[in-house]
């Protein structure tokens, strides 16, 4: 039966009603979305810049140095340091705090003090987006415009090799067995684990790639072993190392493992973890090891902070995923001439350590100041100074010093003037332990005073 004109009319009214209803609905949705985004696009409550504005994201070891020295080298520059933390906690020396060799106060510092002392603005906010066209940084506290942007957000973890995308496992690893290589609650949890540990295996891992602070996992193993020995705990540290050997200060660490902690450290080099069963508390490696653990802290591979990807300036490096795609001599992004990247996000194979990040911060400040003031600048090598404690009371330490030089033939950076002090025994080791504390104090002074 064919439809009559009346029927058609009826249908069209239904249609009209439904579209009207539909559009009304989506209008409401739009309103909601709008209100969220219009709230988000408010400008941050910051004074108008009085000179070219350089925004630095990340107040860690490199960002703090960039902020301070940029203001020193180019006083007319308006410097804003955006940092999501409200208190600075130092990763270097945190291993000593884990076993009560220093107190928390030694590690914590005040961002406001740093900004007051050095004439830049500390803006306590988290950056979640960057618009390179309008040169705006989006934070949870509003939008900040920049003339130049420095990204120094540090690292993120890369659990992929272990979890193969199993986010449930990743969440458990992050939550219950944190790595303790990004300072904050991870470190508090780790300290609690050590304090509550009674017996059995305490598993620690050393990842592959150019991971943050090469000696730190060995230092941590030594100090936890030192603590177990001192407290008479019937346990040992099982250190599962993806690398074929101790990656740095090898003789110093291996002699400490053998001579001081024979019963307390089981070192398993050349072992890739192939399975982690958190219910059974068992780790399996490609070398056939099956390790049952009482507790653990799993340090996975690292990658550049996800913020680099958000900004579109990330690229896989020779060592890790998603690091900064920059010119290694100018630190300028290859994608965007107004963006610079510094610290552990760099793709060069430098040591990912605090001294390196700090001295690089000085250099990047010099580079940006020169560009703003239209002057020439010369590349200089970052400096790696890295002490590692191997025991406490008295603190004994070993150390490494190095600079870098570019080898044109190899097209790679190599060490320059590098040396290590790996004898922790006798006076030399104790002097080096003192050197460790003095080094840290000097660094905190440089960042905060």
């Amino acid at each position: 039966m064919a439809l009559s004109r009346r029927d058609l009319l009826k249908i069209s009214t239904i249609l009209a009603a439904s579209t009207a209803f539909g559009s009304e609905h989506s209008k409401k949705d739009d309103d909601i979305k709008k209100s969220v985004s219009s709230y988000g696009v408010q400008n941050a409550p910051l004074p108008k810049p009085k000179g070219p504005r350089v925004v630095i994201v990340g107040g860690g070891w490199s960002g703090l140095a960039v902020a301070k020295y940029l203001k020193k080298f180019s006083p007319k520059t308006d410097v804003v340091l955006i940092e999501k933390r409200s208190v600075f906690i130092s990763c270097p020396l945190s291993n000593l705090w884990l076993v009560d060799l220093i107190d928390l106060q030694f590690l914590t510092h005040d961002y406001l003090q740093a900004s007051q002392n050095n004439g830049y603005i500390y803006f306590n906010a988290t950056v979640y987006d960057i618009d390179r066209v309008s040169k705006k940084v989006f934070t949870n506290e509003g939008v900040v415009s920049y003339d130049y942007l420095v990204l120094a957000p540090g690292i993120d973890y890369d659990y992929e090799e272990w979890t193969k995308g199993d986010v449930e496992l990743e969440t458990k690893l992050r939550g219950f067995y944190p790595a303790g290589f990004i300072p904050g609650s991870e470190h508090f949890t780790l300290k609690r684990k050590i304090e509550e540990f009674e017996e059995g295996n305490f598993v620690l891992t050393v990842p592959g790639g150019n991971y943050r602070c090469l000696p730190a996992p060995y230092e941590r193993a030594s100090l936890i072993a030192w603590y177990m020995k001192k407290e008479g705990i019937k346990g040992k540290v099982v250190l599962i190392d993806e690398n074929p050997d101790i990656t740095i200060k090898k003789d110093g660490f291996s002699s400490a493992f053998n001579e001081l902690y024979k019963e307390y450290i089981e070192y398993l080099p050349g072992s890739k973890i192939t399975g982690i069963d958190l219910d059974k508390k068992r780790v399996v490696t490609d070398m056939g090891d099956e390790i049952d653990f009482t507790d653990a802290s799993f340090y996975p591979r690292i990658r550049g902070s996800k913020l680099l990807e958000v900004a579109g300036v990330a690229k896989d490096s020779a060592f890790n995923k998603k690091e900064a795609d920059i010119d290694p001599f100018t630190y300028q992004s290859k994608e965007d001439p107004y963006i610079y990247c510094a610290g552990d996000v760099r793709p060069m194979g430098f040591s990912k350590s605090g001294n390196t990040a700090n001295s690089e911060g000085h250099l990047v400040a010099k580079i940006i100041a020169s560009i703003i003031d239209g002057k020439e600048f010369k590349w200089d090598s970052p400096i790696t100074v890295c002490y590692s404690a191997v025991s406490g009371e008295p603190i004994r330490a070993i150390s490494v010093n190095a600079k870098y030089a570019y080898d044109k033939k190899k097209k790679a950076f190599t060490f320059k003037d590098a040396s290590t002090m790996e004898n922790w025994k006798g006076r030399q080791g104790i002097m080096s332990g003192k050197g460790l504390l003095e080094w840290a104090k000097g660094m905190y002074r440089d960042m905060f005073m």
Partner: protein
């Protein structure tokens, strides 16, 4: 302390560590490439250089020279009367050029070998497969050890 001492001992995972001087030079205990090669070809009847029979899988570039995977597959019968008896892996510039010698018989059924080797610097890795009837099949491939930290 000399820089070389440092490099050789503390392999900064990073730093193209690669170049890691795994071995110091000019110390006794070396086995040069010539010597190792002579040793492998002693008494053979024929050498097939750059042999197509050998499939060699090895990375072109490595960061670290401490664990370099090498995989060899040789297209040869492996029958009771004719089989690959030895597979040698040599490195042209390692202070000790000999790395491994595999001793097989027909029971292995395939002339295949995988092994992790050490490389001190950029150089050729040479495979010599020796049959029980005195032939040698040879293949070489260059491995760059030390890669740029800044691509």
């Amino acid at each position: 302390m000399e820089r070389r001492d440092f490099l050789k001992n503390s392999s900064f995972a990073a730093l193209s560590l690669a170049g890691v001087d795994i071995f110091a030079k000019n110390v006794s205990g070396k086995i040069g490439f010539e010597e190792a090669y002579e040793d492998a070809i002693k008494g053979v009847k024929k050498i097939y250089k750059d042999s197509e029979k050998i499939k060699l899988k090895i990375p072109k570039e490595v960061k670290k020279g401490l664990v370099v995977p090498v995989e060899v597959d040789i297209d040869y019968p492996m029958k009771e009367d004719r089989y690959i008896e030895h597979i040698y892996i040599l490195a042209t510039k390692n202070p000790v050029a000999k790395i491994i010698k595999a001793n097989y018989t027909f029971i292995n059924a395939k002339a295949y070998l995988f092994v992790n080797i050490k490389l001190s610097e950029t150089q050729d890795v040479a495979i010599l497969a020796r049959s029980n009837i005195g032939e040698i099949f040879e293949k070489r491939k260059r491995v760059k050890v030390a890669i740029s930290g800044c691509s």
